[in-house]
Symmetry: C2
Subunit: 340 residues, 2 copies
């Protein structure tokens, strides 16, 4: 295959001139045009995206950073974004950051070097990278941050209202008569667990059930790590504490499965003895027995809306800066009314 | 941010000359060098990957085509490939083909236009696209085909030995005393189901249990669609036929879950009344109750080996043309010895 260098050499002109001719972006002398076209014909050259992009200052690529491509949640979001991008002629370059701030920063630098037209960061590591990093990036090129939020009126944030989702899930358990609800957090001080705890506490407070702020503040919160395996172990080794509660609300569905397995191994049945609630509505939650009641994050629309936003930003169209998507309760079989 | 155009304009030279200077790929006049470096300093220009790639004829990108990024199997493979690529300084451009031959072809053309350094196709649509398509592509640039195979000694194929996996799973059920085993295929005439049926039949034949080739040839095969939901319905509406068997071997784990749910809804227990075997070992299979006995596809090593192969091909190192990875039996709780 011949490339733009070969054409330029054959025609005796510079790459820039060939690009200008191909893109019709700048006047080119008629004889030069003829020479270039003859070189193109002779070499059977097919103009490529790179040569065109160099002059148009456009690469038709969108960079996506994802914390873990193997987590069941993220591929759905990537799919939604890439569908929107592909439909508009943009390709995606995907980088897995392992939820590591340093890796995320490296990926951003690489994207800038590649001159991507826009960047979407799913679950940006705002716990590690300062707001100034994202603010500066947002001034450099179109940027969309997905499923996290900090206070900034210039950056486009698109996220699920996890706080409200946790609020609704807690209200549902309260409505079933549960007064002692244990919350299983996915990690300490992570954005996603903290907003859920806020929603959880808000619901308890609205019923006058929020414990007083004292040394035993988080007596109804256990911290796990979003995995089924370690949550199983956590519950097993804290059964005495767990038994003080009638319902367990987990910050994701995988932990809910770990809880159900641990309770079963202790001779309990769900929802007969304990109600268990998840979060995310990953596909396993519908397949599991009992079907897991959970909070749907509308993953597909999260991806779709984010993909739509980055394309609009690149096209210099207006985009709402702060888009909050609704979560919804999915009621299955893992929760029941408390026995009086 | 300034780009290579700005530098060329500022220095009064062509883009090619700037690229030659940056890449040290071709002699550049000493005064020209000075002018370029001054322009770079003045504009605070950082050389970008595209400008460098144009001259080096290298973009440091690998294109990956995946049938469904949301299927639980593929993200693991993508992860393995991209880890290997990223470690060697290559980025991945990911396209979702929806398992559609036309989309796959379009993605390949796009990759060629972008001058990617190599292409990895996961589960290429060989049922739709002719071998000549892949052969021609393989002559154009480094190519790795993952988890499918046709007879060609020049193309690098990397795949799991699904046939042997199905053989081993069937032998396991036979060893438990099952003589009437029902196979649930994922689709008619697909590569992945056909190789499994070959392994299944080979095991039956080795015990003299393969039915005679006649009109009732596939009496022990039901065709589903790889989903849990439709397999549930299929089993429900074929219970009379299903009851003639004591074990059910499914071409993937999701269908095994559909089978277990359907049997339960008919009042049967697994493995007490029926043994059920899956294929793939997706994460849900360990979490489900009963834990699903299945065939592990070594997904992580499939991705790792494929990523390694494409990098070696790009670096013009030797790569074995036909790499078959071993599958292994994962024994959990969904199969038991037949009651005498």
């Amino acid at each position: 295959m011949s490339n733009i260098n070969d054409v330029a050499k054959e025609a005796g002109v510079s790459i820039t001139t060939v690009s200008r001719y191909l893109n019709n972006s700048y006047p080119v002398n008629v004889n030069t045009k003829k020479a270039i076209q003859e070189a193109i014909n002779k070499l059977n050259y097919k103009p490529n995206a790179i040569a065109r992009g160099l002059v148009r200052k456009k690469t038709n690529t969108v960079g996506i950073i994802v914390p873990y491509i193997t987590n069941m949640f993220f591929p759905e979001v990537v799919r939604g974004i890439s569908d929107q991008c592909n439909a508009k002629g943009y390709d995606i370059i995907l980088v897995n950051s392992n939820s590591d701030g340093f890796e995320e920063k490296k990926a951003v630098e690489n994207f800038l070097e590649r001159q991507v037209d826009g960047i979407v960061i799913i679950a940006p590591k705002i716990e590690k990278l300062p707001p100034s990093f994202y603010r500066k990036l947002n001034k450099t090129l179109p940027l969309v941050l997905v499923n996290k939020y900090f206070n900034d009126k210039d950056i486009v944030f698109i996220y699920n209202d996890e706080r409200d989702g946790a609020f609704k899930a807690t209200e549902y358990l309260l409505d079933l008569g549960h007064k002692n609800i244990l919350f299983i957090s996915g990690s300490e001080n992570s954005y996603s667990s903290e907003v859920k705890i806020k929603g959880f506490n808000k619901a308890l407070k609205s019923r006058g059930l929020l414990q007083k702020k004292n040394s035993e503040d988080n007596d109804n919160i256990l911290i796990s790590d979003y995995t089924s395996e370690n949550t199983f172990k956590l519950i097993k080794s804290n059964m005495e504490h767990v038994r003080k509660h009638s319902a367990i609300f987990c910050a994701n569905d995988l932990m809910a499965i770990g809880v159900i397995k641990a309770l079963r191994s202790e001779g309990y049945e769900v929802p007969r003895d304990f109600s268990v609630m998840g979060f995310d509505d990953i596909s396993i939650s519908a397949l599991y027995e009992p079907g897991i009641s959970t909070v749907s994050q509308n993953i597909t629309s999260l991806g779709k809306v984010s993909g739509d936003a980055i394309i609009k930003l690149i096209s210099k169209e207006d985009v709402v800066r702060n888009q909050v998507l609704n979560t919804s309760l999915i009621i299955r079989d893992s929760c029941s009314r408390i026995k009086e």
